[in-house]
Point group: C2
Chain length 346, copies 2
């Protein structure tokens, strides 16, 4: 892709002309957009994208004292990031949004908990303007790390702590996990299923506990033997399904807290000769591109817009960077809707 370095660069004047605004307005938008009316911001942003305008970094840094880069941290070992399509979809949304705002995505990879000190040093070193973090676990150190580094952060999924404490309100983007789970379990009930099992995610993540709460909202008196815990991976879905069949051979439906675990459960159900959906109806969560439509039968599942959540996280952070300068408060959490997608598995 060598073309980018050759050829004349579009100027800020060209951007202003195309957007129909003054050079000063175009400059303000390119450097963050504070104090410019949203319709003008949009016009200039569109002109920037159409012309492929690249602001002069030295000039911009002087005005904004920014690096033009945002860190993305996934609180999972590197190996899970590349094997679970959830992460690539979220990164895709973030990457598109940051690129549209000429901001560099810096993905900080880690192997294990011992690597957080190094990440803390990098964030404190002034190498990024802000951070986006997701897949946090209970009492995750990342919020404290970003606070100490003095940079704003937006989280994917609601962070949670084992004890209430101060400074724990942080901006985040999350799906309506509890509402989505309720819809899934109600749907199984409406199909006439009476022994509905749940394969939950790890209890140290709110996406898992919220979905479990949704299951319990609909079935407050459910037999505890009908609930098994997995780790959001296909292999853990297989193990949980085998456990459930052992404990409750009469189960007639399963709601799995994500599609990967549902795909593992489906394999075990087939191996044990249980017809899906005939003997056991199965519902997942996520509507993951690479999984839900590819299983046999295809998965009925609760759809959440993962890429859209990534875009929203990036947008909130970029806005937060402007607010910070304008002295405005941090943005409120954003909860995105979920919808039940009916396919053949239930």
């Amino acid at each position: 892709m060598p073309e980018s370095l050759a050829g004349a660069r579009p100027t800020l004047e060209a951007v202003a002309a195309r957007a129909g605004v003054s050079r000063a307005t175009a400059s303000r938008v390119v450097n963050g957009g504070a104090g410019v009316r949203p319709p003008l911001v949009e016009k200039v942003t569109r002109a920037v994208e159409e012309l492929g305008y690249v602001p002069n970094h030295a000039a911009r840094t002087l005005v904004t004292r920014r690096t033009g880069a945002v860190a993305v941290i996934i609180a999972e070992p590197e190996i899970r990031i590349f094997s679970d399509p959830f992460f690539s979809q979220q990164i895709r949304g973030i990457s598109k949004e940051l690129t549209a705002h000429d901001t560099q995505l810096v993905l900080l990879l880690l192997e294990g908990p011992g690597d957080y000190d190094r990440i803390a040093r990098y964030l404190a070193g002034g190498h990024v303007d802000g951070a986006l973090a997701f897949s946090l676990h209970t009492d995750d150190p990342i919020p404290a790390i970003t606070r100490r580094a003095g940079i704003p952060a937006v989280y994917g999924g609601r962070p949670n702590w084992s004890e209430p404490a101060e400074h724990r309100t942080v901006p985040y983007v999350d799906a309506d996990n509890r509402g989505g789970a309720r819809a899934a379990v109600r749907y199984l009930e409406d199909l006439g299923r009476r022994r509905i099992a749940h394969i939950a995610g790890p209890r140290d993540q709110t996406s898992a506990t919220d979905r479990l709460d949704g299951y319990r909202d609909v079935l407050p008196d459910a037999d505890p033997a009908l609930i098994a815990e997995g780790a959001f991976t296909a292999a853990s879905g297989e193990r949980a399904m085998a456990e459930l069949l052992e404990r409750c051979p009469d189960l007639d439906a399963v709601f799995a807290a994500n599609d990967l675990m549902a795909s593992g459960a489906l394999r075990v159900l087939k191996e044990r000769g249980r017809a899906v959906p005939g003997d056991v109806a199965l519902v997942g969560f996520d509507d993951m591109d690479a999984i839900a439509e590819g299983t046999d039968p295809p998965l009925t599942t609760v759809r959440q817009d993962i890429e859209g959540q990534g875009r929203l996280m990036a947008r909130l952070l970029l806005r937060g960077l402007d607010h910070e300068r304008a002295g405005a408060p941090a943005p409120d959490p954003v909860i995105t809707a979920t919808t039940l997608v009916r396919r053949a598995s239930a």
Copy 2:
């Protein structure tokens, strides 16, 4: 993973004691290892890893003027990085090696050629000590970008330029692509195949042209109609296979330049009723974890150690950072061996 922030940190004295060296030697190794004999470097490195020692960043920065971070740049759009397991395997090797040397992996994602200017700014901004780049294309701007940024870089795969020029010698790690291809084609010949087709990779990457050269080494007079070009993706392997069957319905073997294209070719061969290996013997390249053993029949393929190449790239760069201070020349290229792995497809 919150444990990392609590608990007492191991000290440099503890590292020195465990390694059986002086504190001064331990310090020198922790800060880069220049001027310390390799066996001592190894002892201290092992003690650092065993104790989980984290050097005081401020102190280390003063001594070394380093950020403790290395950029990884893949010259492909973000979407291919997460869909082609080649990249995750190479990143895995890099991540392990950098983590073992307490260096932060900073993956710079890009959407397209227009993003190189932004990457150039980030690299020139002093946010990383060096760069590892792979999947470069002909006349790729990345070597010039790292040179202008004044940071050392090591490449995965031999970079190439359309015209010879100065300053084009760069350190790289590559597999013996040509030798591996020769072994694959000779093997097909030894099986008695007489119409051996080749699905080549994109001609702007040396891994593709080297494998094509290996094919031609064995079959200098091959019918040009037996060669089709793909793009290293499964879909492009399907298209190339369909073309080849159209042009040369009598072909009895196919050597595909990677496993992804071989898996696509296999699907088309089956659809058209050609038995593999009965009617058409098929050989791939890479021996990719998630692919080669999973096809039906499993793929005979040329194995290269992708994760190992990632580790080597990181090791060369870290050594280069030391050499730089010591005034030594850049390291020579490293070519790793390939081996033919025989499975059922040929």
